[in-house]
C-alpha cells in the first residue's frame, strides 16, 4: 500500500491531463459566459413569451445528460462532414451547456435589481446603456458572482466527461495509468486530490464572497 511504481513522469502525465481539463474549462466558461450574458440580458429585458423559444432551447441543454450531448454533437459533426476535432466539439458543447446555466444566473441577477432603482436611474436621464452598465451591472454582479463561481467549478468537474470522445484529460490520464500500473486506488486518489485542490479553494472563496456581500445588503 505504501510503495508505488508511480514515477515522476507518470505524475507529469497526469498534470498534463489536468492542464487539458483546465483548458477545456477555460474555453467552455469563456464562451458560455459571453453567450449567457447576451441571452440573460435578452431574457430579462423582453416579455417571457417573446423569449420562450430561447428559454426552450436552453432548457434542453439542462435536461439531457451532458454525456449524450457530447456523443450527439460528435456524431453530428461527423455526419455533416465538418471534420472538427473532438477537443473543439467538446469545448462547443460545454460552452452551450455553460451558457444554458449562465443565462439563468444572469437573468436572476438582473431581476434582483429593484425596478424602482432602474426607473430612478432612467428618470435621472441615464440612457438604457448607462443604466445597464453603471446601475444594473454593479448590483447584479454581487448576486451573480457566487453562483457563477459555482457554475465554473461545476463545468470543471463535468469536463471529465469529454474522456468519452477520446480526449486525454485528468481522469482519462489516470485511467491509462491504472491500466498500466494496476494500482487503481492510489492513482485515482491522486487524481481526486488534484481535482480537489483545483476546486476547493475557489469554492471556499465563492462561499466567502457570498457571505460577505450578504452582510452589506
Amino acid at each position: 500500500m505504501f510503495e508505488t511504481s508511480l514515477t515522476l513522469n507518470d505524475l507529469m502525465f497526469m498534470l498534463k491531463g489536468a492542464g487539458v481539463t483546465l483548458m477545456v474549462t477555460f474555453f467552455a466558461v469563456t464562451g458560455g459566459t459571453l453567450m449567457g450574458l447576451a441571452f440573460g440580458v435578452i431574457r430579462a429585458q423582453f416579455k417571457p413569451w417573446v423569449t420562450l423559444p430561447l428559454a426552450f432551447v436552453l432548457d434542453i441543454f439542462r435536461s439531457v445528460p451532458l454525456l449524450i450531448q457530447l456523443i450527439l454533437a460528435n456524431a453530428f459533426q461527423a455526419i455533416a462532414g465538418y471534420g472538427i476535432s473532438p477537443f473543439v466539439t467538446s469545448c462547443i458543447v460545454l460552452a452551450l451547456y455553460t451558457a444554458a446555466y449562465c443565462t439563468e444566473i444572469v437573468r436572476g441577477a438582473i431581476a434582483a435589481v429593484p425596478a424602482v432603482t432602474r426607473r430612478a436611474a432612467r428618470s435621472l436621464g441615464l440612457t438604457w446603456r448607462q443604466d445597464m452598465t453603471q446601475v444594473v451591472f454593479p448590483m447584479a454582479l454581487r448576486v451573480a458572482l457566487p453562483s457563477w463561481i459555482g457554475l465554473t467549478l461545476g463545468v470543471m468537474k463535468d469536463s471529465a466527461l469529454v474522456l468519452w470522445l477520446g480526449i486525454i484529460e485528468l481522469l482519462r490520464a489516470s485511467q491509462i495509468l491504472v491500466t498500466r500500473l494496476q494500482e487503481p486506488m492510489f492513482i485515482l486518489l491522486v487524481a481526486g486530490a488534484i481535482y480537489f485542490v483545483l476546486s476547493f479553494p475557489i469554492a471556499r472563496l465563492g462561499a466567502q464572497l457570498e457571505k460577505r456581500w450578504k452582510e452589506n445588503d
Binding site: I60, S63, I71, I79, V178, L188, Y195, F196
Partner: protein, 221 residues
C-alpha cells in the same frame, strides 16, 4: 449534410428496449435518492453538532462529494475499491457513486433548511416531554423536508442525468447503456442517441411536473 442517410425506423424499432433501459435508469435514480436522503439527514445533523469528531467526517464527506467530479466518484467505487479486493458490479458502483454524490449535495440543502427552522420549535417539542431524537423526528424533520422539497427534486433530476455515466464503467442495462449497446451493433450513433436524449428530456420534464403537482398538493395550507 454529406451523404448520410438517417435511419430513424431502426431506432424506433429499438424503442421498447430503450424504454426498458429507462426503467432501470429511474430505478437507480430513485434508489440513489432514497439512500442519499437518508445519509444526508445524518450528515446534516452531524455537521451541526458541537462535537468535532462528529463534524469532521461529515465535513470531509460533503467537501469531497462537492469538489470532485461525479464520474471520479463512480470510478472510485468501480476501479478504486479493486485495490482492496472489492469488486462492485457496474450497477452497484453506479448506485454507490451517485448516492455518495447525492448525500453530499443534499446535506448542504438540508443544513440550509435546518437554519430556517426557529430553534424554539425544537425547544417547544422538548418541553412537551419529547426526547431530542423524537422532537427532531416529529417536529423538525417534517418542516425541513418541506423547505427542502424543491431543491431535493432538483437533485433527483441531477441523479437521473448522472445515471448516464454508468456506461463508462460498463453498465449496459440503463438507458445510456442500452443505447450504447445498440450503437455498437449498428453504428447509427446519431439516431439512437437522439432518441435517448428525447427520452431523458421527457423523463426530467415529467419528474419536475410531478414535483410541482406534489408540492402544490402537499403544501397547500
Amino acid at each position: 449534410m454529406g451523404n448520410y442517410t438517417f435511419q430513424w425506423r431502426q431506432a424506433l424499432r429499438a424503442l421498447p428496449q430503450m424504454l426498458d433501459g429507462a426503467l432501470v435508469t429511474m430505478q437507480i435514480a430513485i434508489l440513489s435518492m432514497l439512500i442519499g436522503v437518508t445519509i444526508a439527514v445524518f450528515l446534516a445533523v452531524m455537521r451541526n453538532s458541537k462535537s468535532r469528531w462528529l463534524r469532521a467526517p461529515a465535513t470531509a464527506w460533503v467537501e469531497v462529494a462537492r469538489n470532485t467530479p461525479a464520474l471520479f466518484q463512480i470510478y472510485m467505487a468501480h476501479f478504486g475499491l479493486g485495490s482492496f479486493g472489492i469488486y462492485l458490479s457496474p450497477y452497484v458502483a453506479l448506485l454507490a457513486g451517485i448516492a455518495f454524490n447525492n448525500a453530499g449535495y443534499l446535506c448542504e440543502t438540508f443544513r440550509g433548511s435546518l437554519r430556517a427552522i426557529p430553534s424554539t420549535q425544537l425547544r417547544a417539542g422538548r418541553s412537551l416531554g419529547m426526547g431530542p431524537a423524537t422532537a427532531f423526528r416529529l417536529i423538525v424533520m417534517p418542516q425541513m423536508f418541506r423547505i427542502a422539497f424543491l431543491p431535493t427534486m432538483n437533485q433527483m433530476v441531477w441523479a437521473i442525468l448522472m445515471t448516464s455515466l454508468g456506461v463508462t464503467v460498463g453498465m449496459s442495462t440503463d438507458l445510456t447503456g442500452v443505447t450504447q449497446d445498440l450503437n455498437a451493433r449498428s453504428f447509427r450513433t446519431f439516431e439512437f442517441f437522439a432518441l435517448a436524449a428525447l427520452i431523458y428530456y421527457l423523463i426530467t420534464k415529467v419528474v419536475m411536473l410531478g414535483a410541482r403537482l406534489l408540492a402544490w398538493r402537499l403544501f397547500r395550507y
